[in-house]
Amino acid sequence: MHLSPDQVVLWKYGFINLNSTIATTWGLMLVLWLAAMLITRKLQTGIEISRWQCALEIIVTAIMKQIEEAGLSQPEKYISFLGTLFLFIAIAALATVIPGYESPTGSLSTTAALAICVFVAVPVYGIAEQGLGGYLDSYLKPTAIMLPFNIISELSRTLALAVRLFGNMMSGTMILAILLTIAPLFFPILMSALGLLIGMVQAYIFGILATVYITAATRKD
C-alpha cells in the first residue's frame, strides 16, 4: 500500500523514473487538450448546435458565472487560469472510475505545483490591475504593522491549498485501499462514490479559493 502515486514507478532508465503521477498528469492534459480541440473545431452560432459544443458552453458559462459571483467583474480575463485549475482537478477526480487509475492530485508534488501556480498568479493579476505600487501598498493595509502578518498569511494559505487538496484525495484512496482488505465488494463501492463527491467538491473549493485570493489582490478599495 503506497502513500502516493509517486511511489508507483512505471519505467526506469538510469536515474530517470517515470512514476504514475507524471504519466497520469500528462494523460489528463492530453485528454483535456484533445477534447477542447475536437469540440471547438467547427463552432456554430445558430440555434442548432452540436451536443458537445452545448456541453462545453454549459461548463464555460457556469464557470464564468461563478467567477463573477465571487467578485471579479471581468471573468474573461481570469477564466483561462481559474477554469483550467478547476477542470484539471475535477477531471483528475472523476477519472477514478477508470480501473487502475490513481488521481495525480493524490501526490503532494502535484498539489504543491498547483498551489504555487496560484501563489504566483495572485501578484501577477494584482500588479496587472493595480500597478506595482498599488499592489505592494495593499500589503500595508490596514496598517503597516500588518506587513509580516500579510506575508505569512500569503505563504500559509498557499500551503493550506496544497495540503487540503492532497489530504482529501490521498485519504480517499487510502481509505479505499484499507477497506478493500477488510470488507471487499460492497462497502468500498460506497466509499468510492464518496471519494468522487469529495473530489468534485475539492476541485470547486480550489477554484473558488483561487478566485477569492485574486479578487482580494485586484480590487481597488
Binding site: 500500500m1 502513500l3 493550506a160 495540503v163 487540503r164 492532497f166 489530504g167 482529501n168 490521498m170 485519504s171 487510502m174 467538491v201 475539492q202 470547486y204 473549493i205 473558488i208
Partner: protein
C-alpha cells in the same frame, strides 16, 4: 526498552491519538454550521442555492482541518522517517 520499540510505540500511540482528538473540533464545527444553514434555509428558502453553496464551501474548509490530522497520522504509520531510520540501521548491522 530499546529505541526501536520506543519509536514504534510512540508512533502508533500518537497516530491514534492524533486522529481521535483531531476529529473532535471539526465535527463540532461542521454540526453547528449545518444547523445554522438549516435555520437560515427555513427562514429564507429563496436563497437556498447561495446558502447551500456557502455551506459546502464552509464544510470543506472545516473538513480540511480534520484532513491535516489524518495526514499526520498516515505519515506516522506509513512514511515514518524515524522508523525508516532505525530499520535501516538495524538491517545495516
Amino acid at each position: 526498552m530499546d529505541s526501536m520499540t520506543l519509536i514504534a510505540m510512540a508512533s502508533i500511540i500518537t497516530a491514534g491519538v492524533t486522529i481521535a482528538i483531531g476529529c473532535i473540533g471539526p465535527a463540532i464545527g461542521e454540526g453547528r454550521s449545518v444547523a445554522a444553514a438549516l435555520t437560515s434555509l427555513a427562514q429564507q428558502p429563496d436563497a437556498s442555492t447561495t446558502i447551500t453553496r456557502t455551506l459546502f464551501v464552509g464544510l470543506a474548509m472545516i473538513e480540511s482541518l480534520a484532513i491535516y490530522s489524518f495526514v499526520v497520522s498516515m505519515i506516522l504509520i506509513f512514511a515514518n522517517p524515524f522508523w525508516n531510520h532505525v530499520v535501516a540501521e538495524a538491517s545495516g548491522k
